[in-house]
Amino acid sequence: MQIQPILAALRKHKAGTVLIALQIALTLAIVCNALFIIHQRLAHIAEPSGVDEANVFVIENMWGEQYNTQQAAANVQQDLVTLRNLPAVQDATQSDSYPLSITSGSDNFITLKADQIEPTTDATVYSGDEQFVRTLGLKLIAGRDFRADEVQNAGQRDVVVPAVTIISKALADRLYPHGDALGKSFYSMSSTPVTIVGIVETMQRSRLGAWSMPYAEQSMVWPLRDASPLGVFYIVRAKPGELAAAMQEAPKALYATNRMRIINPKDGLLSFAQVRHRAYDSDRGMAILMGLICMVLLAITGAGIVGLTSFWVGQRHRQIGVRRALGATHRDILHYFLTENLLISLGGVAIGIVLTFGLNLWLVTRFQLGIMPLAYVLMGVALLIVLGQGAVFAPALRASRVPPIEATRPA
């Protein structure tokens, strides 16, 4: 195939050529960045929580009266007995928050020395009793669970620093990268050390905002009973297959033991599936929006190429007839238009690659997006070239069917 005559013809159609190339360039830039955003968001959504999500649900229990520490602790104990006695319930525990909660939870700085001022890292702190690990279904990969006698009450604004803690593997690896964290200790905003007695495989953080990304999956459990006057979260594990029944009977049983409590009808009772859904709302939304934009954009670009090529074919009817009359085959004409589109597409993607990285760089500085891997751009380039060839195929086929007799007709 001769490229020279194609280039000569394109020089006669500068505006159309530039427009198609520009459209391909812009589409490449948007599609690559959108796909990259989708990929990042989906990766975030897929992060494990460590919780046995199929069987666990959460009750946000707020007290109707202002209790002191002893009253609150006694009420929590009583509620836990009530919950554990329910036929559909396997286990129940209490905490001040839970993984993926996003609306509650606290974080502590961690240091390796008592007098260190710059923190080594940061982790979510869950208060949990000896049932916490078991109820959530966390997988203990080293050490032991809490003993009942280690659990203390923590009242309003009462900082209790326990002697022992169970931490996530991610936190263990951050603090002691050689895998020897068990039995070692650290300091968590206190002058007394906390000793690691257990390590669980995964325990996601409670809050998932952008600021917490560097501390992903870094969490610890402190053996505390949340006796704050505000309220407490009950985390309940249903017997396999009885989640719905357990979720129905649990609030009723709690209200029956003590009416002076609030379980908000809107979001006071959530299955873990609902918790996960809420936690990743905006990530899912962005992925859907970017996906829609990509699809519509590719469709519009494809249709635009079809439209403009059809116009060119119509315009060059006579020239095509002349070429056919001079001996060009169907195939020659078809190849002519396919090659022409390929040349324009190549020009377009060349500009597009620059635009893609430009847009990516801008998104990185403004929105901490992350640098795009080259594979994405190559994938986008392939996609757009295939799209261009596909779009041009129908008009090119029509061109190839122009009979040689056209050469003799007036334009």
Binding site: Q23, L26, M62, R157, M189, N264, S282, G314
Partner: protein, 436 residues
Amino acid sequence: MFAYYFQLGLRSLKRNPALTALMVMAIGFGVAASMITYSVFRAVSGDPIPEKSSQLFVPQIDSWGPQQNEDGKPPGALNYVDAMALQRAHQSSRMTLIYSLMLSALPHDGNSVPSQVMGYAVTGDFFPMFDVPFLYGSAWSNADDDNRASDVVISDSFNQRMFGGANSVGREITLSGHDYRIVGVTRHWNPSPRFYGVWGESGFGDPPDFFLLLNRALDLKLDNIGRSSCRGHLTFKSWDEWLQSNCVWLMPWVQLNTSADVARYRQFLESYAADQQRAGRFGWAPNVALDNVPQWLEKQHVIPQESRVSLVVALCFLVICLVNTIGLLLAKFMRRAAEIGVRRALGATRHEIYSQYLVEAGSVGLAGGVVGLALTAAGMSGVGLLFEPEIARLAHLNMSLVGLTMAVAVMATVVAAVYPAWRAAQVQPAWQLKSN
């Protein structure tokens, strides 16, 4: 002439329905995507209190020091000690301190279960500072603040739930086991974003149910359910020790009417921090800030990242749709070169050809606007899929958005048609007639 060109335009659009449909759809999609994302952006980026946003300021004092503060900036709230000191100094015409509360309310019919109510502990200046509108009664006085009175102002919707909407001023209400006297009922008031409490809040939640007298809330040890942030070793074992800690949680606002007041207040903050350094409480040089409402909202990243990114992507999408339209209009116009040649030969000026084709493009834009409007209306119901419910509900299709959609569609298409119409106007009549 305009009406005639418009008719010609419509007729020509009917001639290539596929090409026309393609242009109309491209513009429709481009405009709809931009308008949907813009409506969300507009909702989250508005000035919540336009008449006063440059007179309301958040004073900030670095009580953590350069080693522990965030990026060298003072924290976004005050600890109790600094907050009380600023309050006592009376250096601004008005000042309030705010923290969030969640309490339980027991309806008076006895056997029902309590419900959860959300509100703020504030000082009396809060109401005149933020122009809170009252339905019944009024704010409490500064004397009530000093007397630590059990006063509460409730919202109209809470008043509706508890008292059936009657004038409840002077009545008692029990919240989490404590009795308060209602001094005022506000009209519906929920500035968006809720600028006064955005430290650690999204700023787009349900309106608060009540405002409690701050000193009374502190006396009752009603805890802050909003964000609190601490540094160093935590040693407090009780509420009173917590108040003396370095934990920041009280949101301060001051009203400063003139730029001289602002300068004076800034100076006061500097000298306060210098005093603390001299007294040995701060081991670092004064580091203070004073932000008005727009500056504060910017600093707190109130506009969700999703909203900005999606707006940028949607606008890029619109640009691509327009590039597409330029190409298609060019094809459409140039296909009629012969017709243009005849018209030019019969005496039409370049200018007339030019305006005829711009009007034709305008009619494409109009059709695109109608499609875009339909898609925008459909997309509005899908906004809930893309943003959190509390933000999604802010986006809605009103008259100004309808007008904007149509205007953007027509303007964008006419701009896209500038080059194709110019090319059409350049057609040489002699050349066209000869080749025919």
